[in-house]
Amino acid sequence: MIFLILLKAFLITLWVVFIGLLFLGIGRKITARIQKRYGPPFYQQFIDVIKLLAKESIWHHWIMILGAIMALGGLIATALHVPIAGILPYDSNGPIFLVLYLSAIGYLGMAMGVSASGNPNAPLGIGRALTLMLGYEIPFAAVLIIFMGLTKSSYFLQIAQSQAGGILHWNFIRYPLAFIGAEIAVQAMMAEKPFDQMIAPAEIASGPLVEWPGKFLGLGMIQMGVSVFIETAIITNLFLGPSHNILDFTLKQFGIYFIALCINAVMPRFKIENAAIYLWTIPLGLGLLQMLITFVL
C-alpha cells in the first residue's frame, strides 16, 4: 500500500514539474508575442533546466544546498496535497491549512539558502518576499474563510465538489468579488508583476537568484514551475468547479496563468510597501465585501 502511495506521489511530482516548466515555456512565448517578438520555442524551459543541471555549481556553504533542497522539497510537498482533478496520492482531501503552512516552507528554505550565499542583494530580495507574503496571505485567507464557511469544510476537494452542476454553480460566477480578490493575491503569490519586487533585476540584481549558479538555478527554475502549478491549482479548485479529468483541470489552470501573464506583461512593479498596502486594501476589501454579501445579506 505504502508503495502505491509512493509511486503515485512520484508520478504526480513528475507531472507537476512537467506542467510547471511547460507553463513557464509557454509563458515566455506569450510574453514575447505581447512584446511583438517571435519568442523561444515552448520547450525552451526544459532545455534550460537540463543545461543548468549539467553545469558546474559553486557554493559558499553547505547551508546553500540544504536551503535549495528544502525550498524545492517544501513546494513539492505542497503540490502533493493539492488535488489535481480530484487526484491525490493518499486520501488527504487537500487540507487547506496544511497547504498554506507547507507553502511557506519553500520561502523559508530559500531564505536560509540564500542568506548563506553572502551576497547582500539576496537577503534584500528575501526580505521583500517575506513582506509580500504577509501582504497576500491575509486577503487570501479572507477568501478561503468564505468557502470554508459555506461548505463547512477545510478541504479543497469538498470545495471543488460543492460547485458541481454546470458552469453557473462555479464559484467565480457566484462569488465574483472573491474571485477578483483571489486573482490579485495569486498574482502576488506567483511573483508576477506588479508584484515581482523579490526578483527585480534592475533593483537588486534578481534578488535571491543572484548567487545561484548552475544546478541551483536549475532547481530554482523547477521550483518556480512548481509554485506556478500550485497556485493555479489552488485557484482552479476554489473557483473553477469540479474537473472531470486531468486535461480539463490543466486547461483551467492555464487559463488562470494566462490572465496572470497578460497582466504581468503590461504592468511595472510596485515598491514593496506600496504593494503590501495595495494587497491589504483592494483584494482584502473585496474579500471582506464578498463575505458581507454572502453571510449577512
Binding site: 533585476p201 534592475a202 533593483e203 540584481a205 511595472p268 512593479r269 510596485f270
Partner: protein
C-alpha cells in the same frame, strides 16, 4: 523621510556591522552603461555613495590631438553612443568658426534634421529605460523596435546605423537620397500615432506615476547652480534651450517651441514627461525643417582634407543634445591637428556630483530610476 534618514546614518556611523556595500554597477542590470556606484547601505536605504567611474575612459581628448582634423570625425561620435550626432555637429561647427567657413543653407537644414532624428533615437531609448527600470519591459521592447526604423533611415542616408560620421568641415557628406523625405514624413506620422500607445502604457500608468512622483525633486535655481542642463533643467520649469538661446545649424530659422510643463515640479515624473514632450517637439521640428528645406549644394570645397589646416584661434560651441548641453572647446595652433579639444558632457555634473546629494536620500529600488530619468550616459563623462 529626512529624519529617518539622518537617524539611519547615525546608526551606520556608530556601528560598522549594520552598514554594507552594494556595487551598483558596472555589471548590475539596473545600470545602463559601464559605470558604477558603490552604495553604502543600511537595510534598503542608501546612506552614502562613492563613485566608480573610468571604465569607459579612452582618452579621447588626447587621441584627438594625435589625429588630423578630418580623422577626428571618426572618433567623436563615440563620445556619446546613444546620441552621436551632436558631437559631430559641435566639432564641425567649432572648426568652421575657426576657419571662417560659411556652410551652405541646405547643409544646415540637413544637419538640423539629422540632429533631431538622433535626438529621437536617444529619447526613445531614454523613455524605454524608464520602463526597463520599473519592470515594464513591453514598452522597452516596443520603443527599441520602433527606434530601429529611425536607424534604418540613418542607414539609408549615411550608411551607418549607429555612428554616422555624416558631418564634415564645410557641410555634410551627401544630399538626401531620392524618396528619403517622403519616407521620413511617413515615419513621423507613424511615431505620432505611436505616442498615444506609449501614453497608455507608460505615462498614464498609475504605478509609474506613483513611483516617479516626488522622487528626487530639484528646483530651478538649484538645477542651475548644480550645472544641470537640457531637458532636466526644463523639467524644473526653466525656459532655457540652446537651440533658441545660442542657435546653431538652422535653428535660427526653424521655429522651436520649447515644451514646458505647467506646474513643473522638477521630480522624476516631470523629467520623464519632459522627455516625452521633447520627442513630440522633435517630430514637429523635422516636419517644419523639411517644409522650409532650401535647394543648393550641401558642402563647400575645403581642398585636400588630409592637408587641411585650421587657422590659429580658439572657440566654443554648445549644442542641445537629448541629455543637455554638449560643448566642444577647440584650440588650434594653425597645424594639421587640433592643439587641444575639450569636451563638455551633459551627464558629468549629475552623474558624478548631484548623485552625492540625491542618492543618499532614496532607496535601492529607485537608484536605477533616478539614473534613467536624469538620462545619465556614462561615456560622455568618462570620455
Amino acid at each position: 523621510m529626512i529624519d529617518r534618514f539622518t537617524e539611519l546614518k547615525k546608526i551606520a556611523q556608530k556601528d560598522g556591522h549594520v552598514l554594507y556595500n552594494i556595487f551598483f554597477g558596472p555589471n548590475h542590470p539596473g545600470m545602463n552603461g559601464n559605470f558604477g556606484y558603490v552604495l553604502d547601505m543600511v537595510g534598503s536605504q542608501v546612506v552614502d555613495v562613492r563613485l566608480n567611474a573610468g571604465q569607459l575612459h579612452r582618452g579621447f581628448e588626447k587621441l584627438m590631438e594625435k589625429r588630423l582634423w578630418v580623422q577626428n570625425f571618426s572618433l567623436i561620435p563615440r563620445v556619446c553612443v546613444v546620441d552621436p550626432d551632436p558631437n559631430e555637429v559641435a566639432y564641425a561647427t567649432t572648426a568652421e568658426k575657426l576657419a571662417d567657413i560659411d556652410i551652405p543653407k541646405r547643409a544646415k537644414y540637413i544637419r538640423t534634421i539629422t540632429l533631431e532624428m538622433s535626438r529621437m533615437t536617444s529619447l526613445l531609448m531614454g523613455m524605454g529605460s524608464v520602463g526597463g527600470a520599473t519592470g515594464l519591459y513591453t514598452i522597452m521592447y516596443w520603443m527599441l523596435s520602433d527606434r530601429d526604423y529611425l536607424l534604418d533611415m540613418f542607414e539609408w542616408l549615411t550608411g551607418g546605423r549607429v555612428y554616422h560620421i555624416f558631418n564634415l568641415i564645410g557641410g555634410v557628406r551627401r544630399d538626401f537620397p531620392e524618396g528619403w523625405i517622403d519616407k521620413i514624413l511617413e515615419l513621423m506620422d507613424y511615431f505620432e500615432n505611436k505616442l498615444k500607445e506609449y501614453d497608455h502604457l507608460l505615462y498614464n500608468n498609475p504605478i509609474i506615476v506613483k513611483r516617479l512622483e516626488g522622487l528626487a525633486p530639484i528646483t530651478g535655481d538649484e538645477a542651475k547652480k548644480w550645472g544641470v542642463t537640457g531637458p532636466n533643467l526644463r523639467a524644473t520649469g526653466v525656459r532655457s534651450d540652446i537651440r533658441i538661446d545660442y542657435p546653431y545649424a538652422a535653428y535660427n530659422e526653424v521655429e522651436v517651441n520649447i515644451p514646458i510643463q505647467e506646474d513643473a515640479k522638477g521630480d522624476a515624473l516631470a523629467r520623464a514627461i519632459q522627455v516625452r514632450l521633447e520627442f513630440e517637439e522633435s517630430i514637429n521640428i523635422i516636419r517644419k525643417a523639411i517644409k522650409q528645406l532650401p535647394e543648393g549644394p550641401v558642402r563647400v570645397k575645403i581642398g585636400n582634407p588630409l592637408k587641411l589646416r585650421i587657422p590659429k584661434g580658439e572657440a566654443y560651441t554648445k549644442i542641445e543634445s537629448s541629455k543637455g548641453e554638449f560643448g566642444y572647446y577647440i584650440v588650434s595652433d594653425g597645424g594639421i591637428k587640433p592643439y587641444r579639444v575639450s569636451v563638455r558632457g551633459p551627464s558629468l555634473p549629475v552623474g558624478l556630483f548631484l548623485c552625492k546629494r540625491d542618492l543618499p536620500k532614496i532607496r535601492i529600488e529607485d537608484v536605477a530610476l533616478w539614473m534613467n530619468t536624469y538620462s545619465i550616459c556614462a561615456p560622455d563623462f568618462d570620455r
